[in-house]
Amino acid sequence: MPDQALRQRAPLEALARPGRFGATSAAAGVMLSEIRDRGLASVAARKNQRAALLAAAKSAFGCGLPTRPRRAFGRDGLSFVWAGPDQWVAMLDHGPVGGIEPRLAASLKGLASVVDQSDGRAVVRIGGARARAALAKGMPIDLHERAFTPGDAALTFFSHINVHIWQVDETPTYEIAVPRSFVGSFWHWLTEASAEFGYEATGSNSSA
């Protein structure tokens, strides 16, 4: 084995150049960044175990698992986003990126199937006054504040790419999980959609 340790590469490492791009007239209308220190895992309830799973999650992580398209926050940087009936994406802020599966599996054994997806998804954060307008150029769901609020989540698509989006705050700020192999095209389209408003890209961003 070659001596130096194996280097990790974030999905957007080569693509998300920091800087101010697009229209330069006013202040940047869109802020873009990649979240690189978050662990992800899919969690699916075992047959007839939903109730037990919800209870176990409550006690182990301090939050119920959302039963509609929402995100729920638990202890120590853990959160769960609804990902379909009896399915969730669990997220762990500040990693370790690979460390989420064992942590969940330990508490949910027999109640849920847990699969590490930390490497399967890139998580992009988009915020700013014109974030909604930029996302409207590829995403069919209504992100208006009357229709979609912080904590709300949706499984949908952006241009031709399936995404998982949830709102973080009223700025508005959103996080979008994208299958890793698609992230190059996704970033290309997102930045083209944002260029009209001027966007600021900050390479990586801490997950919390």
Partner: protein, 1019 residues
């Protein structure tokens, strides 16, 4: 909307124009430009060119108004007879004034001058004429018009048959068509966007403005669209008072309030062109068509998908021409258009006018013409007593009123006079010299969007027009579009519709105060055609459809409205018959002596006006046509100079060229040889990967795969074969058992999505009671295949010491979890596609780049080479594995020689149907290998023929699926599907390939060319 009498004289426009007024700029100094008035910006002169000549216009002009301001009347030629044509209308309904706008790669044929917003440097040329607009040779067609009437081409050009493609058709095609495509890629960009609202208001005339205001004040999310580049609709074109203020000024204050409402979005230059199901509307926003080139980071156009809970259609109405002899002469114009040019653009469309109308709309035209100082020679109205207000208006401006009809226009390239026949003395023809005829045949509500979902417009005798029929759910119609003619009715109807729409969305609207409006007569008496002896009477101007064409259609039985359209091409031109359909239908009704409703009603289809194809494509063109999927090792492969190929959405390394290679084959051979003799590595991250868990996971897999999976021991892998329910092979792949209740499945790259869909269906729909959960992990894992006699040696350098991967500890078809590079979790599978000692190792994708580099570094001393799809394919052919060319959806397990994999002990998807007679027929082509006899070339797609048999379908015995040159064996090796299959080993056949001019002798053999006993992969 229809507007009628104002009993005040037109006032100095400076009072009410929202746009700043200044002294006339020099470039606008023209006898046809009024010194004051209109909403053009006299401080912003613009230069433009038409047919190579330079002219001056003003900001706020359309190309049409600017041409009129420069005295240009002749702007185009008609489609068939190449008649000289001028400007008929002032909006998107214009049939005549089509030009090629812009130049080079940005050329846009068939652009309506009446909607082309003027910008500095605009360049336009006329089209469909040769050599020039003024002198067009094709105008001789007019002479043959008796022969080349409606549908003449169905009756001739039949002899001799071979002449059609050679002579007739090229001739016709050159003559037909209008403008010319640029022929080059479009340099501009386009966007698509989604919008959501409570209330969508289509049109910003009086009705639309009031609707938007009522809904907006109530707090609803409102989107207001108008196709024009100014909001206000007819309010900009008319000279009326609202609440004692000029209507355009009044509109300005409403617009200001709308702009101040946070939930109201106003989209000008935006045409809602289609109504679709469930309240979805498609609109096109012309973001940059009013500029020479789009600004940086801006698209040229944007297509909106608008999802609206409620919609108010306030699209106004379109004025109808009157049908009489030579009614297409340049200078014959719609009355409403004349007023628009006078009041909005401050342009005189002529110097001496005649007004001809069958309705009270003539009043406003008369007054506005007089106010602009244009002498009105006569006012012609077929109505007698009913024409009172018109007669009065004529008197007021001292114009002669004639109760009669214009029977014929005189002049060629421009109108010189009109012949009028008076009711009183029809024998005595009156002739009035003029260069402008303002005509009105009444107004047709713009019902188009109301019928896109199939609702038939309904006929109103009172209005002599079609009004909306059954409406799409959620749509209401207001103003002139609803047949509410008259300003007051429009304002009231709009306010009501807007309030109701907001109410339906849960927003209580306070009533909007109705402004005071003067009296407005809207009387009309239908006049569908003036029976003219001489001169062509045009119904569809753009397609040159005349009354006699409709008469011929009637004579020949094309009386159904759709037959009429299709046979005469009435309403099929780029204006979709906006000014022609109703006249045409009514004339057919007269001819068949039926009522208009009994004759039919044209239903409209999207788009309302033509939409740029590029806008509907949006961003998705060139390299962005579809997303591109890249593996974690992509950057590394690029550094190695890999040549990539598209496989589905993925880019995969095809081969790795080296300096000195003559062709891809050199690289491919090198990669195969290196792998067979030492070791090679291939990125297989694109394989579909599925993680399955649950107590029933094994049972679930048993039902999915033709072979048993529940019997698979933990720590082992197995090839799997999946059938469709109809018995044909769906996919092959591998299943590995990581724990009692935990499996890892791979699918082929091509079928990954289809297999996932299939598994979801089987679980969610067929067997929801099973305790199994699965999720795609295709993107989670980077996966590499290490193959070759030295594969283990390389691997041992990577895998952390504590893991024993010796042949005994980790034999063929073993599977397990290991760590590499000091603790990085990895999965190792001893499976081989190449037939060599081989492993597939997968690591979390973030390590994918590092691991492939580490593998190559570790393998370098052992002569490792990366290999691509070409080498992969050669090795699988040498080994006789089926691939995409064999699993083509038409083959069964039996066809592919895989029946041994099909379990007879259990039920599984496809089992029963695989046993149907047709799928067991002995003469089905089955999987074989073959070698070339001699050195003839062979290509996949060649068919197998018996030696000496004549080439015919009867003698077709199968086809070549895959061929490759085997550097290992030094000759061509091939796979195919041959009737009789393995029963024919040793037979000589022909690989018949006439497409490529080949006919090669082959010998059928076993498909396994290399290491048939499989010793190497167990080594």
């Amino acid at each position: 909307m229809v507007d009628a009498a104002s009993n005040k004289p037109a006032r100095a426009a400076a009072e009410f124009a929202p746009v700043r007024q200044t002294a006339a700029a020099p470039s606008a100094a023209s006898p046809y430009r009024l010194a004051t008035g209109g909403i053009v910006d006299r401080s912003a002169p613009l230069l433009f060119s038409f047919d190579g000549r330079n002219y001056g216009g003003l900001r706020g002009d359309t190309l049409a108004s600017a041409l009129l301001a420069n005295g240009v009347r002749l702007v185009g030629r008609s489609f068939k007879y190449h008649r000289p044509r001028g400007i008929l209308a002032a909006g998107s309904e214009e049939p005549n004034a089509l030009v090629e706008l812009r130049e080079g790669a940005r050329r846009e044929p068939n652009t309506r001058a009446t909607v082309a917003e003027l910008y500095e440097g605009l360049a336009a040329v006329s089209q469909n004429r040769w050599p020039s607009l003024w002198f067009d040779c094709m105008a001789v067609n007019s002479l043959f018009s008796p022969i080349i009437g409606a549908g003449f081409y169905y009756k001739t050009f039949m002899w001799p048959a071979s002449f059609w493609e050679k002579l007739y058709e090229p001739m016709i095609r050159r003559a037909a068509g209008l403008g010319r495509a640029a022929g080059m890629p479009d340099p501009d960009t386009y966007e698509k966007a989604f919008a959501h609202c409570d209330v969508l208001v289509i049109g910003s005339g009086p009705a639309g403005l009031m609707a938007a205001l009522a809904a907006g004040r109530a707090g609803a999310r409102v989107i207001l669209c108008d196709e024009d580049f100014e909001f206000g609709g007819r309010l900009l074109a008319e000279c009326r008072d609202i609440d004692g203020r000029p209507c355009a000024q009044w509109a300005g204050s409403l617009l200001a309030e709308l702009a101040s409402l946070p939930e109201v979005r106003m989209l000008k230059r935006t045409t809602v062109f289609g109504a679709y199901d469930h309240g979805v509307y498609a609109a096109i926003e012309r973001v940059a068509d009013h500029l020479a080139t789009p600004s940086p980071h801006m698209p040229r156009q944007r297509v909106w998908n608008i999802v609206a809970k409620r919609t108010v259609l306030a699209a106004g109405a379109i004025e109808r021409p009157l049908v009489f002899g030579n009614n297409d002469r340049p200078g014959v114009m719609l009355g409403g258009a004349v007023r628009a040019y006078l009041n909005r653009f401050a342009v005189k469309p002529g110097t001496r006018a005649v007004v001809f109308a069958n309705n009270d709309d003539a009043v406003a035209t008369l007054l506005d013409l007089a106010a602009a100082g244009i002498s009105v020679q006569a006012c012609v109205d077929p109505r007698g007593a009913d024409a009172g207000v018109v007669r009065a208006a004529a008197q007021r401006i001292g114009t002669r009123f004639v109760n009669g009809a214009v029977v014929r226009a005189r002049g060629g390239h421009r109108l010189r006079a009109v012949d009028v026949s008076a009711v009183a003395e029809p024998w005595h023809k009156l002739t009035f010299p003029c260069d402008l005829l303002a005509m009105s045949g009444g107004w047709s509500p713009s019902v188009h969007l109301s019928s896109h979902l199939g609702g038939r417009p309904q006929w109103s005798d009172a209005l002599a027009a079609f009004v909306p029929g059954p409406l799409p759910r959620g749509m209401s119609v207001a103003g002139a579009a609803a047949g509410e003619f008259g300003l007051a009715a429009c304002l009231a109807g709009g306010a009501k519709a807007g309030a109701e729409a907001a109410g339906d969305c849960g927003f209580a609207a306070k009533p909007v105060a109705m402004p005071g409006i003067g009296p407005e007569p809207i009387g009309i008496a239908a006049l569908w055609r003036v029976r003219a002896k001489r001169g062509k009477a045009f119904v569809d101007f753009q397609n040159d459809v005349t009354v006699s064409d409709i008469e011929l259609a009637e004579r020949e039985g094309f009386r159904a409205v759709e037959h009429l359209k299709r046979y005469t091409t009435l309403g099929m031109a780029t204006d979709q018959g906006k000014t022609a359909n109703v006249n045409g239908l009514a004339i057919m009704a007269e001819l068949t002596e039926k009522t208009i409703p009994a004759t039919g009603a044209t239903r409209f289809r999207p788009p309302y006006t033509p939409v740029a194809i590029g806008a509907l494509a949006g961003h998705h063109r060139r390299k962005d046509f579809k997303p591109t999927r890249l593996t974690p090792g992509h950057a590394w492969a690029q550094e190695q100079g890999a040549v990539f190929m598209e496989t589905g959405l993925w880019l995969r390394a095809q081969y790795f060229p080296q300096p000195g290679d003559n062709s891809w084959l050199d690289a491919c051979n090198r990669e195969v040889t290196a792998t067979r003799n030492a070791v090679g590595v291939c990125d297989v991250s694109t394989l579909g990967k599925i993680d399955l868990q649950g107590t029933d996971a094994g049972l679930f897999l048993d039902r999915l795969y033709a072979n048993a999976m529940s019997s698979l021991p933990v720590g082992r892998a197995r090839y799997g074969l999946m059938l469709r329910e109809d018995g044909f092979v769906l996919d092959d792949g591998t299943v590995s058992r990581l724990a009692e209740d935990h499996f890892f499945v791979t699918t082929t790259t091509a079928n990954a999505a289809r297999v996932m869909q299939h598994m979801d269906f089987c679980h969610q729909v067929l067997w929801p009671d099973l305790d199994v959960q699965f999720v795609s992990v295709s993107d989670q894992w980077a996966q590499y295949s290490l193959a070759g006699p030295k594969a283990r040696e390389v691997l041992q350098k990577l895998v952390d010491g504590q893991h024993d991967i010796s042949n005994t500890a980790f034999p063929y078809m073993a599977a397990g979890e290991v760590t590499v590079g000091g603790g990085v979790p990895a999965r190792l599978f001893r499976i081989s596609f190449s037939g060599e000692l081989a492993y597939e190792i997968s690591v979390p994708a973030r390590f994918g780049d590092a691991v492939i580099r580490a593998v190559v570094a570790a393998g370098a001393p052992l002569g490792i080479r990366p290999y691509g799809l070409e080498a992969l394919s050669v090795m699988r052919i040498e080994k006789g594995h089926v691939g995409g060319a064999e699993i083509n959806g038409q083959t069964t397990a039996r066809d592919l020689g895989l029946e041994r994999m099909v379990s007879s002990k259990k039920d599984f998807i496809g089992r029963v149907m695989a046993g149907r007679p047709a799928l067991l027929a002995p003469d089905r082509p089955a999987f074989v290998g073959f070698k070339s006899v001699g050195d003839g070339a062979i290509g996949a797609g060649a068919h197998f023929l018996p030696v000496g048999a004549e080439p015919s379908a009867r003698n077709d015995e199968g086809h070549v699926t895959s061929v490759a040159y085997s550097p290992t064996l030094g000759h061509l090796v091939g796979l195919g599907l041959l009737k009789g299959g393995s029963k024919r080993l040793g037979e000589k056949m022909r690989a018949y390939d006439p497409l490529r001019g080949r006919d090669t002798l082959i010998e059928v053999c076993s498909p396994v060319f290399y290491d048939p006993e499989g010793a190497r992969l167990r080594a």
